[in-house]
């Protein structure tokens, strides 16, 4: 069995990237995710697996290197934190429009603007509703443990290649900076060029005599052509919404009240839930693991018997809008959040819970 290690979430991402056969990482440093590239540079995988690790001249360059690598069917990724991810949005939209697979990692910090380096979840809208232009979606995974930081690299790539769509690991400064136990995924070799050609026949790996040129583009000036592209994307998104929803539940079976929280906020709610259960309140926790596709159906089911929901986020309230859409007015949906890098304590969440639902 693989050794249990103690490491930061950011370090786990880097190790997992090497182990799952990533071909290239292109990034630009920014707190609180800099350990991703630092660890990759320390590990020097170009000497072992042949993986490219490159510090680009800017975030915009990094995402376009990802675009180029992805167009060749390569397993490529980038990571950043909120302001850096904003810079990458044009490239993200192009990659989604060109239907290319890649992995993005955002270790969120407080915004807007240059903001703070401390943890936040305020890029939910940017990620889930589209930070770039156009009708596109990102498959979004929200890790809450260092183990999930490691596991979601391979899962993210798998989903990205299954649907030819960018996947995002949406983490935050807590999960990135925290150290926990982790078992790293087993080593998978990088695909050979022949394997890449076979898996990605659309890739621009050099034209062969037996086929037409492959063209990678997100441009279609004819409205009918562009609409057809959009219809194809939307059809794909409906399949993803049907098949790829992931979530975790604790104590939801008999819950009168359900916390809905993702990533580190779900960890904070765990303590609040345990304490409230001890006080006799039937409280459960639903943690969306995929933020898009969102566990809408499950929340709607729980709304049939729950008395209320409370979304807890490190933001002014973003995911709560999706919880409200899922609950569709059946029962109250309340919210508590902190901003600017501040973290609500379990005690604070308990107090707000009682206040929100008029409980004593």
């Amino acid at each position: 069995m693989e050794e249990i290690k103690l490491m930061k979430g950011n370090e786990a991402i880097a190790h997992a990237a090497i182990r799952c056969g990533t071909d290239g990482y292109f990034g630009y440093p920014i707190t609180p995710q800099s350990e991703v590239m630092e660890t990759l540079m320390d590990e020097a995988p170009w000497n072992t697996t042949g993986m490219v690790v490159l510090q680009a001249e800017s975030e915009v360059a990094a995402i376009n290197m990802v675009y180029g690598g992805a167009a060749c069917g390569k397993k490529v990724m980038t990571s950043s934190s909120s302001p850096g991810m904003s810079l990458k949005q044009e490239g993200v939209s192009y990659i989604a429009g060109a239907e290319l697979p890649c992995l993005l990692v955002n270790v969120m910090r407080g915004g807007p603007g240059l903001g703070t380096i401390q943890p936040s979840q305020a890029d939910y809208f940017q990620t889930v509703k589209g930070g770039g232009h156009g009708d596109y979606r990102l498959i979004t995974l929200a890790p809450s443990t260092v183990q999930e930081m490691a596991d979601f690299v391979d899962l993210g790539f798998e989903l990205a290649f299954r649907y030819n769509n960018p996947a995002m690991i949406l983490a935050d400064g807590i999960v990135g900076q925290m150290m926990e136990k982790v078992v790293l995924p087993p080593f998978k070799p990088r695909r050979t060029n022949d394997e890449v050609r076979k898996q990605c026949p659309w890739g621009t790996m050099g034209k062969t005599d037996d086929r037409e040129r492959n063209i990678i583009t997100s441009l279609a000036l004819e409205a009918d052509v562009m609409e057809a592209t959009n219809n194809r994307l939307q059809a794909k998104y409906r399949i993803i919404e049907e098949k790829e929803v992931l979530f975790e539940e604790q104590n939801c079976e008999d819950a009168d009240y359900v916390f809905v929280a993702f990533g580190s906020a779900a960890r904070l709610c765990g303590n609040a839930m345990d304490a409230l259960r001890e006080q006799g309140f039937k409280v459960g926790l639903l943690r969306p693991i995929t933020l898009w596709p969102f566990p809408t159906k499950r929340i709607a089911e729980l709304a049939q018997k729950a008395k209320g929901f409370m979304s807890v986020e490190l933001s002014a309230g973003q995911m709560v809008e999706d919880v409200r859409l899922a609950v569709n007015g059946k029962v109250p949906v309340t919210f508590h959040g902190r901003m600017g890098g501040n973290i609500p304590s379990a005690e604070e969440i308990i107090e707000k819970f009682k206040e929100n639902f008029n409980l004593k």
């Binding site: 900076q177 925290m178 926990e180 136990k181 379990a346």
Partner: protein, 181 residues
């Protein structure tokens, strides 16, 4: 068993590595562990702190408001965390540079003059291991041999020659810690 610990002091005192050694020791004993630094705009000479949890069960929140044990290594840290020790908990402080003594009566208070001792020993870099020794005397939450193993695993091999000095520092810490309350 569940221990919720905050270690706080100046940047550069080895607060984060002390926390890492404890977390690693817990891991070696098959426990669940979390290590969460306050990674804000801290800098050398500023304040630094880390929350470490060691537990038999899965740990939910890596960030806490109240602690079983607070190790405070400068005055701002004592001012911030003395009141956040749970009743019946433990406060450990180094009197070096402190302008007052802790005032809580409902907790156990220990003083460890680790800064002075490290200077006296001519081994200032082992300061944090003196504190770890003191902590383990006050609450033997992990075995000392596992602390040494953790240190060995977390230090690069070129520093392994420093292991005996660190072990010695840990022993000294166990001897010099004084219970005040």
């Amino acid at each position: 068993m569940k221990k919720e610990i905050i270690i706080a002091g100046f940047g550069g005192q080895g607060v984060l590595s002390m926390g890492k050694i404890l977390a690693y020791s817990g891991l070696l004993e098959g426990k669940e562990v979390t290590w969460m630094p306050a990674y804000g705009p801290e800098q050398r000479g500023g304040t630094a702190n880390v929350t470490v949890q060691i537990s038999d069960k899965k740990i939910s929140s890596p960030i806490l408001k109240f602690y079983d044990i607070a190790i405070v290594l400068n005055q701002p840290s004592m001012d911030k965390f003395e009141e956040r020790v749970k009743p019946g908990g433990i406060l450990i402080y180094d009197s070096n540079g402190m302008t007052r003594k802790p005032t809580r009566k409902d907790i156990s208070v220990y003083c460890i003059d680790a800064t002075d001792k490290a200077i006296e020993m001519g081994a200032q870099k082992t300061f944090n291991m003196i504190v770890v020794g003191g902590l383990l005397k006050a609450d033997p939450m992990v075995k000392t041999e596992n602390v040494m193993l953790a240190l060995k695993k977390s230090l690069p091999e070129r520093h392994h020659k420093l292991l005996p000095a660190n072990e010695e520092a840990m022993k000294v810490g166990m001897e010099i810690i004084k219970k005040e309350n």
